[in-house]
């Protein structure tokens, strides 16, 4: 049974999906391992969640928690020595993991688009912007007339608040914010079902950040895609997304709506994250989280967080891995504290 955790949204125009509760994105049991000289590192461990059209999911976590790996895994862009060991990524009814090379290539940008972190280097320095957009179009849609392609490009550029003349320019002629917006424009060219924005504003100043976030919001509502926003700025998440997913050591430890996460975080790690946010009302000592994130090469036995957890001294925490459970209301936690309250999530192994 699929848990519907969101209010009904308008259908994506022309979508074959008539059932509004059928999530456009379903990730189940995703596992990624890196085989390094020093040993095996489990970058993603049994990660699963769902997302509906028009919804925005914010994915937060420390460096190395697996958020970017998540994005790459969904695009099937994990390179050696990393390997996707298992799991499903179902977008609009198609399991991307089951596709062959050609199928996956066709799915990229078309069904699921990726907006890279650091657009500074993501654009080919020797090609004009327009050329970099038209080659993407032509790879997926054969035989379109030149004027049609140009129209598409112009429309996409306007959607991100850029002058269509930008198409004739080279990347080095654009500012950082403009380049980021070009990448967003490329992401929406083919109206994908899912858009993954990987730290789209990390390298930008606050003013441009806001511009870019507004742009993402706008384009999302235009094509009604599901958006996954990866970042580590909780404050930004609070303003931008509907649901928040917290990653720790390659595991999804909590998934809840923005309101739930900020008012009543359940997982001790999420609690620590929220309480470490500066708060104008509650002035006090800066709260950090004691200890360091564990190396993925040698994760603690049992719960990955237990060494740093105030509740982590028990035998259960030290020896048994917690499984994701669904709490009443639909939120998900991976923590021993709640294993009796909810039932095991279907996506878990």
């Amino acid at each position: 049974m699929t848990i519907d955790t969101t209010p009904a949204r308008a259908k994506k125009p022309g979508s074959a999906n008539a059932n509004v509760t059928e999530p456009v994105l379903r990730v189940e049991g995703l596992e990624v391992t890196y085989y390094t000289d020093l040993g095996r590192a489990k970058a993603l461990d049994n990660v699963g969640f769902t997302l509906n059209s028009g919804e925005k999911l914010g994915m937060v976590g420390e460096s190395g928690s697996g958020k970017s790996t998540m994005a790459l895994a969904m695009m099937r862009m994990i390179k050696p020595p990393g390997r996707i060991e298992g799991g499903k990524v179902i977008v609009g009814g198609t399991d991307l993991m089951a596709l062959d090379e050609l199928g996956m290539r066709r799915a990229r940008l078309n069904k699921i688009a990726y907006i890279p972190q650091g657009a500074m280097n993501s654009l080919n320095p020797v090609m004009r912007i327009g050329a970099q957009m038209s080659d993407a179009i032509r790879s997926h849609i054969k035989g379109e007339a030149r004027s049609t392609v140009e129209d598409r490009i112009a429309k996409a550029l306007r959607s991100v608040d850029l002058d269509p003349g930008v198409a004739r320019m080279y990347p080095h002629e654009l500012s950082g914010g403009m380049k980021q917006r070009v990448c967003i424009a490329i992401g929406i060219l083919l109206q994908p079902n899912v858009i993954i924005a990987d730290e789209p504003t990390s390298a930008l100043d606050v003013v441009t950040q806001r511009q870019v976030m507004e742009t993402i919001n706008r384009v999302q509502s235009e094509i009604n895609a599901a958006v996954i926003l990866i970042g580590h700025d909780m404050g930004l998440m609070a303003q931008a997304v509907d649901k928040v997913a917290v990653m720790y050591a390659g595991r999804l430890v909590e998934l809840a709506t923005v309101r739930e996460m900020f008012t009543d975080p359940k997982h001790p790690y999420s609690q620590a994250l929220i309480s470490s946010l500066p708060n104008l009302d509650n002035k006090g000592v800066f709260q950090g989280i004691p200890g360091l994130a564990p190396s993925l090469l040698r994760l603690p036995k049992g719960c990955a967080f237990h060494p740093r957890c105030p509740h982590g001294k028990g035998e259960l925490q030290s020896n048994v891995r917690p499984e994701p459970v669904i709490l009443p209301g639909g939120r998900m936690v991976t923590c021993h504290l709640y294993s009796e309250e909810g039932h095991v999530h279907e996506g878990a192994k």
Partner: protein, 301 residues
């Protein structure tokens, strides 16, 4: 039932020993492995040879003339009566000397200049850099030909050969080292060190040099390669220390005496093969070290 674990800290990642890591890397970087292997083999040949043979036999009139390879003379002898096996041993030793000496000089100059240029910046940097750039297009080998050709034939020795070869070879390492130090200067760990109060010299030795080592090593091997190559060419043109059994000299002499036409095929061929092995091995090691220095290359293996 599992035992109750009291420890709250995660286990330390057990690091395999450095030697193990090295061998694992060698397995992936086969080029480097083969290159090193060949060099080791050649070194053994030379070292053992030096102990075993009588060096006098590498010079003219020490053995029967123009003998093809046989049990008595495994590599044969040449027109002048040199036992080629002995000549090869001595020649390789001399080639190694030139290579290491010239390579060392070239690298040392390169590191010094490159470092100074990058670290002090300003007009020092501009001068050194411009000089390097101007000298680069000049066909180094030809200049070496000019220099070697101008010397009195008696003045051309192993030592002078090394100097000649090193004379115009330092520009490459200088620019490489300079580029690396410049990027390092900008990077944060230098600023952090400065802020922590580490002295200038301290920064140089503790922070920058260790990071430079892979590049210096790669440059050194490249320099040795270049030096061996250059000395070989000079010798083949007849500009080397003619008395010495340098491999290039042997080939030059062979060409002079029309070795092929006279059917003394072993005379130029054997030094040629030796040269191929030496240069090939050096090239492989050079490539391998380049990979080591550039981690991105490693990632794709």
């Amino acid at each position: 039932m599992t035992t109750i674990s009291e420890s709250a800290a995660p286990d330390i990642v057990r690091q395999p020993s450095n030697l193990t890591l090295f061998f694992r890397y060698l397995r992936r970087n086969k080029g480097l492995a083969i290159g090193v292997l060949i060099l080791v083999a050649l070194t053994l040949f030379t070292v053992i040879g030096l102990f075993v043979v009588n060096p006098k036999h590498a010079y003219p009139l020490s053995a029967a003339l123009k003998q093809p390879p046989s049990l008595k003379y495994p590599f044969g002898t040449d027109f002048f009566g040199r036992n080629l096996l002995v000549a090869m041993v001595i020649g390789m030793w001399q080639t190694a000397l030139i290579g290491l000496l010239a390579g060392g000089i070239g690298t040392a100059i390169g590191v010094l200049l490159g470092f100074t240029s990058a670290y002090f910046g300003g007009w020092i940097d501009a001068t050194i850099r411009t000089v390097c750039q101007i000298l680069t297009p000049i066909p180094v080998l030809l200049i070496q030909v000019v220099v070697a050709g101008s010397l009195d034939k008696r003045d051309v020795t192993i030592l002078t050969m090394s100097v000649i070869v090193a004379m115009l070879a330092w520009m490459g390492p200088t620019l490489v080292v300079r580029a690396q130090v410049m990027t390092m200067k900008e990077r944060q760990f230098v600023s952090v060190a400065k802020l922590s109060g580490v002295s200038d010299m301290g920064i140089i030795f503790k922070e920058i040099l260790p990071n430079l080592l892979p590049f210096i090593a790669a440059s050194f091997v490249g320099q040795v390669f270049g030096a061996v190559f250059a000395s070989f060419y000079l010798a083949v043109l007849g500009l080397g220390p003619l008395r010495e059994p340098l491999l290039g000299n042997l080939i030059w002499a062979a060409q002079n005496q029309g070795a092929f036409f006279n059917g003394w095929w072993w005379w130029p061929l054997i030094p040629s093969f030796a040269m191929i092995l030496i240069l090939g091995a050096l090239a492989l090691v050079n490539m391998g070290l380049d990979e080591l220095a550039n981690p991105r290359v490693r990632r794709t293996e």
